[in-house]
C-alpha cells in the first residue's frame, strides 16, 4: 500500500521545496540553531517530561518525595510477585561467582569481561539471549578518534550540553576516554563497521554533535554488535546462560551485601534461587510502560524490572523524572507505527518539514529539543501532516540523502529501513517518511559511580538501568557506547569483588518484607505486583474473561 491520495498530494509540497533546500544544504547554509534560552522555553512548554499531571510523588523508598511518571511510580508502589516468607532460601539452585541479570549488550559485555577476569558467570535473561534494546539500536556508536578535528573534550562538551549540564562528570569522563578502546575491542571480535576501503572508519553527525563522530555498521549497528558479542559468549565455557528466567527480587546477605537473586522461569512457572558473590544488574529500560500513552521503539521486555529490584534493595534513583522521546518514530503507515527511524537519516542530510513542506527547526538539535519542536508544530501551530489514521506527523525528507550523497546511498546505508518501508509500498529513497515523537529511552535510573558500584556492596549496575551519565537527555550514539564502556567496567569490578571482597553470609529477603511494610505504612493498599515482566496487549473484552492469567503466571 503506497501513500494514499491525500498524502500523495501533501507529499508534492515537500517535492516543491526540495530543490531549494538541497541548494542551501550544498552551500552549507542551515536553519538556525536555538539559543540555550530558546531551548529551555521550548522544552518546558512542550516536552512530555514537563507535564505536571503526568507525574506524581513517590511515597516510599529512597526517593520518597521525588516525582516521576505515574507508570513508574505504579511499579515502585507495588508488591513483590512473591510473599518473601514463602521462599525457601536454604534451597540454592545455582551458585556462581558473578550473576548477571539481563542479556542485552551491557550484560553480555560484562559476562565476557568477568569471565576473562577469572569469574564463573551466570547470565540470566527474561527472553532469549540478545532480546534487548541493544539489538534495535540502529544508528551507531560515538567515539572521538579522528583527532585532527575531534577530541574527547568535544565529546565531553556535547554530552554535557545534551544532558542540560546535569550529567555526572566522572561518568562522562569514563565514557569519552574509553570510547576508542571499545571500538578497537569490537573490531577485534569481528564487528563489521562501515569503513572506507583503506580501513578508516566512516562517521556521521547526529543531534547535538559538534563533530561527525558517529560510527556505524550500516543501519543495524546494535544488532551487529549484539550478535557478535552473543556469539563470543557462546564460545566461553565459563559463561552459563539462563533464558526466560528473569530475576524478580535481589537477595541480600545478613551483612547487607547483594548475594544473588530470586528468579522466575516464565515457561515452567517455577521460582528458583541463584546464589552469587557479586551481582550485575543490566536489565535496560522502560519503554513498554507506554508512559503517557506514547508508542515506543523499545523491545517487548523493556518493563523497568531492574528499577524495581534495585529500589527495593535500597538503591536510589537518579534523574528518574526524565525520559527520552525520540523525535522520529513512524506515525504512518500504522503497521509499523512506533518504529524507530534513526537520527542518522538527519545526520546524512534529510530535512524535517511541516505540512507546507517548510522547515521549522534545525534537524540536528538534541533529541529533547527536536521532539518538543515537532509537538509544538503539530499541536499548537496546527502545521502537522494529517494521517488517514487520524494522527499528525512531520515529514522526514529521506530522498535528500541520495541527492546529496549519490544515488543508492539510502538503499546501501539504510537497507533495513528501506526493506521495511518497501514492504508497505513506500520507497524511502524517493519518498519522504512520516514521523512523530515516540518513547525511546530511560535517561535516569539506579544511582552508581564510575566503577558501576551502587550503595549496596556487591551490586553493580550498567547500561540503561542506571542514571547520571546522560543527565536529563541522552545524545545519539551514547547508549551503545554506554553499555559497552560500563558493561565492561561492571564485568571487571564484579569479578574482582567476587574474588577479593565477597563475604559469605546467610541469605535474606527481609528488605522485601520491610518494603511491603513501608507500603502499608504509607497507606498504599494495592494488589499491583512488580516487576510486571511483560506488557499485556490483549483486547479488553478478552482480558475480562481471562480470569487467572493476570500478572504473567503465578503470584503467590
Amino acid at each position: 500500500m503506497p501513500y494514499p491520495k491525500e498524502l500523495e498530494r501533501l507529499k508534492r509540497k515537500v517535492e516543491e521545496t526540495r530543490p531549494e533546500r538541497i541548494a542551501k544544504k550544498k552551500r552549507g547554509e542551515r536553519f538556525p540553531f536555538m539559543s540555550l534560552e530558546e531551548r529551555n522555553a521550548l522544552i518546558s512548554k512542550y516536552h512530555p517530561d514537563y507535564r505536571e499531571e503526568a507525574k506524581r510523588e513517590i511515597k516510599v523508598g529512597p526517593n520518597k518525595g521525588d516525582k516521576a511518571a505515574h507508570e513508574i511510580v505504579d511499579l515502585l508502589e507495588a508488591k513483590s510477585r512473591v510473599d518473601p516468607l514463602r521462599v525457601n532460601l536454604s534451597q540454592v539452585d545455582y551458585e556462581t561467582d558473578v550473576l548477571i541479570i539481563g542479556g542485552g549488550g551491557a550484560g553480555t559485555a560484562a559476562a565476557l569481561i568477568a569471565q576473562e577476569n577469572g569469574a564463573e558467570v551466570i547470565l540470566a535473561t527474561k527472553l532469549r539471549h540478545g532480546d534487548a534494546n541493544t539489538m534495535m539500536a540502529e544508528g551507531g556508536i560515538q567515539a572521538a578518534d579522528k583527532l585532527e578535528k575531534d577530541s574527547p573534550a568535544y565529546h565531553y562538551l556535547d554530552t554535557m550540553g545534551g544532558g542540560h549540564f546535569k550529567n555526572d562528570p566522572e561518568l562522562v569522563y569514563r565514557l569519552v576516554t574509553e570510547a576508542p578502546d571499545v571500538l578497537l575491542w569490537l573490531e577485534s571480535l569481528g564487528v563489521m563497521f562501515s569503513m572506507f576501503p583503506e580501513g578508516r572508519l566512516q562517521t556521521l553527525s547526529a543531534g547535538g554533535f559538534c563533530r561527525n563522530r558517529l560510527h556505524f555498521c550500516a543501519d543495524i549497528t546494535g544488532a551487529e554488535i549484539m550478535r557478535t558479542l552473543r556469539d563470543e559468549a557462546r564460545n566461553r565455557e565459563g559463561i552459563k546462560v539462563l533464558e526466560f528466567s528473569p530475576a524478580v527480587e535481589l537477595i541480600l546477605s545478613e551483612h547487607g551485601h547483594c548475594a544473588g537473586a530470586l528468579h522466575y522461569d516464565m515457561e515452567t512457572g517455577e521460582y528458583f534461587i541463584v546464589k552469587a558473590k557479586a551481582v550485575i544488574l543490566a536489565t535496560g529500560g522502560c519503554g513498554r510502560l507506554h508512559v503517557q500513552g506514547y508508542p515506543t521503539t523499545n523491545h517487548y521486555g523493556a518493563t523497568a524490572d531492574g528499577l524495581v529490584l534495585g529500589y527495593r534493595a535500597g538503591v536510589k534513583l537518579a534523574f528518574i523524572y526524565t525520559l527520552q522521546y525520540h523525535p522520529t518514530g513512524v506515525i504512518f503507515p500504522e503497521q509499523i507505527e512506533g518504529l524507530l527511524i534513526s537520527e542518522k537519516f538527519r545526520g546524512a542530510g534529510a530535512d524535517v518539514l511541516n505540512v507546507d513542506g517548510q522547515q521549522f527547526v534545525n534537524e540536528m538539535e538534541p533529541r529533547d529539543i527536536e521532539a518538543s519542536a515537532y509537538i509544538r508544530e503539530c499541536i499548537t501551530r496546527g502545521k502537522g501532516v494529517p494521517t488517514p489514521t487520524g494522527k499528525l506527523g512531520i515529514w522526514l525528507d529521506s530522498p535528500m540523502i541520495d541527492i546529496l550523497r549519490g544515488e543508492g546511498m539510502v538503499k546501501r546505508e539504510f537497507i533495513g529501513k528501506w526493506k521495511v518501508f518497501n514492504r508497505q509500498g513506500i520507497d524511502i529513497s524517493k519518498e519522504p517518511m512520516l514521523v512523530y515523537p515516540v518513547l525511546h529511552y530511560q535517561n535516569g535510573g539506579l544511582l552508581c559511580n564510575a566503577e558501576c558500584e551502587t550503595s549496596v556492596p556487591g551490586l553493580f549496575v550498567a547500561g540503561e538501568v542506571t542514571g547520571g551519565l546522560h543527565g536529563e537527555n541522552r545524545l545519539m550514539g551514547n547508549s551503545l557506547l554506554d553499555i559497552m564502556v560500563f558493561g565492561r567496567i561492571a564485568g571487571k569490578n564484579g569479578a574482582i569483588y567476587a574474588k577479593d571482597k565477597a563475604k559469605e553470609g546467610k541469605m535474606t529477603l527481609d528488605h522485601v518484607t520491610a518494603y511491603h511494610r513501608e507500603l502499608e505504612d504509607a497507606g498504599i493498599i494495592t494488589d499491583r505486583v512488580a516487576p510486571i515482566l511483560l506488557p499485556d496487549y490483549t483486547n479488553p473484552k478478552v482480558r475480562q474473561r481471562q480470569l487467572t492469567t493476570r500478572s504473567m503466571g503465578t503470584v503467590a
Binding site: 579522528k146 577530541s151 573534550a153 565531553y156 571480535l189
Partner: protein
C-alpha cells in the same frame, strides 16, 4: 490514583479495539483454529488481539531480532509463505504457525586462534558441502537474503562475499528449517562475518592511535579535568563556542577553533 489497576499497554489496546470497530474483520486460522481479527493488524497484533500472550515468538517488534518467524499458507495457493509476525499484515483465510525456535548445531571455537582462511569454516562446518543448491533457503528468507548464493560463495572460499550477502541476517532459523542438506546456515554465516570483520577487513589506524594517546597515555586528561571542574556557566560558554562541523563535510574538513585539539 495509586490504587487504580492500570495496564500500561492500554492505549495501544484501545487503538486496536478502535480498529476493530472501524475496519473489516477477517478470518484467520492460528495453528488451524479460526479467529476473527481486524484486517489491518499485523500477525503479531492479531494474535494478541484474540488473547495470545507471547513469551516466545515475540521480541523487538521491529523486524530485526528474528524471534517471530511465521509460516503460513493462503487459500487456494499451494506455496508456503513466510514473514515476521511483527511486520506482516494478516490476509483473509491465512493458515499460520510461528516457529519461534529451530534447532541447529553451533560449532564452538576460539576466535583469536582462527586464521582468515575458508578452511577454518570448512573444518568447523563440514556440512557446508552438503548443499544441493535447491535454493529453498533463499525462497524462505524473510529478509530477502540471497542465502544460497552466500553458501556457494563460502564453498568457493569467498568469505567477503558471504559476509556481505548475509549482513542483514536476523538469525531466525527459517533457512535451517528448510535445508535439504541440513546446514545450520545462520551460525555458519555468523562465523564468516566475524572472520571478515575481525581478520580480513583493514584495521582503522586512527583508532589505534586514539587508544594510544587517549586511553593509554592519557594525553587529554589535563583538558578533560579542567572541563570537569568548570561550573555550569563556564561549561555553557565552552559549549556555545564549539564550532559545528557541517553534516555534509568530507574527511578533510578541519575546524578553525582548535582549543581542545592536540594534533
Amino acid at each position: 490514583m495509586s490504587n487504580v489497576e492500570r495496564n500500561p499497554a492500554d492505549k495501544s489496546v484501545e487503538e486496536n479495539a478502535h480498529l476493530a470497530a472501524t475496519t473489516k474483520m477477517v478470518p484467520v486460522f492460528i495453528m488451524g483454529k479460526r479467529y476473527e481479527v481486524p484486517e489491518s493488524l499485523t500477525i503479531m497484533k492479531a494474535m494478541e488481539y484474540v488473547g495470545f500472550k507471547f513469551i516466545r515468538g515475540c521480541g523487538c517488534r521491529g523486524g530485526i531480532c528474528g524471534a517471530c518467524a511465521t509460516v503460513y499458507r493462503k487459500p487456494g495457493d499451494y506455496k508456503i509463505h513466510v514473514g515476521l509476525a511483527c511486520q506482516t499484515v494478516v490476509e483473509p483465510g491465512i493458515y499460520l504457525a510461528q516457529i519461534p525456535f529451530y534447532p541447529a548445531n553451533r560449532a564452538s571455537y576460539r576466535f583469536e586462534e582462527l586464521k582468515s582462511v575458508p578452511e577454518e569454516i570448512f573444518k568447523l562446518y563440514p556440512e557446508l558441502f552438503r548443499c544441493v543448491a535447491c535454493n529453498a533457503c533463499t525462497k524462505i528468507c524473510p529478509m530477502d537474503i540471497e542465502v544460497m548464493d552466500a553458501v556457494s560463495a563460502l564453498k568457493q572460499g569467498n568469505i567477503k562475499k558471504a559476509a556481505e550477502l548475509t549482513f542483514d541476517c536476523i538469525q531466525c532459523g527459517l533457512c535451517a528449517s528448510r535445508c535439504f542438506g541440513e546446514l545450520p546456515k545462520y551460525h555458519i554465516f555468523q562465523l564468516a562475518r566475524r572472520i571478515y570483520g575481525g581478520k580480513i577487513l583493514p584495521k582503522a589506524e586512527h583508532l589505534k592511535r586514539a587508544v594510544q594517546v587517549i586511553t593509554k597515555e592519557k594525553s587529554y586528561d589535563k583538558i578533560l579535568k579542567s572541563l570537569m571542574q568548570m561550573n555550569e556557566e563556564e561549561l555553557r560558554k565552552a559549549y556555545l563556542e564549539r564550532e559545528i562541523e557541517p553534516t555534509t563535510a568530507v574527511e578533510d574538513w578541519r575546524p578553525s577553533e582548535k582549543r581542545f585539539l592536540l594534533e
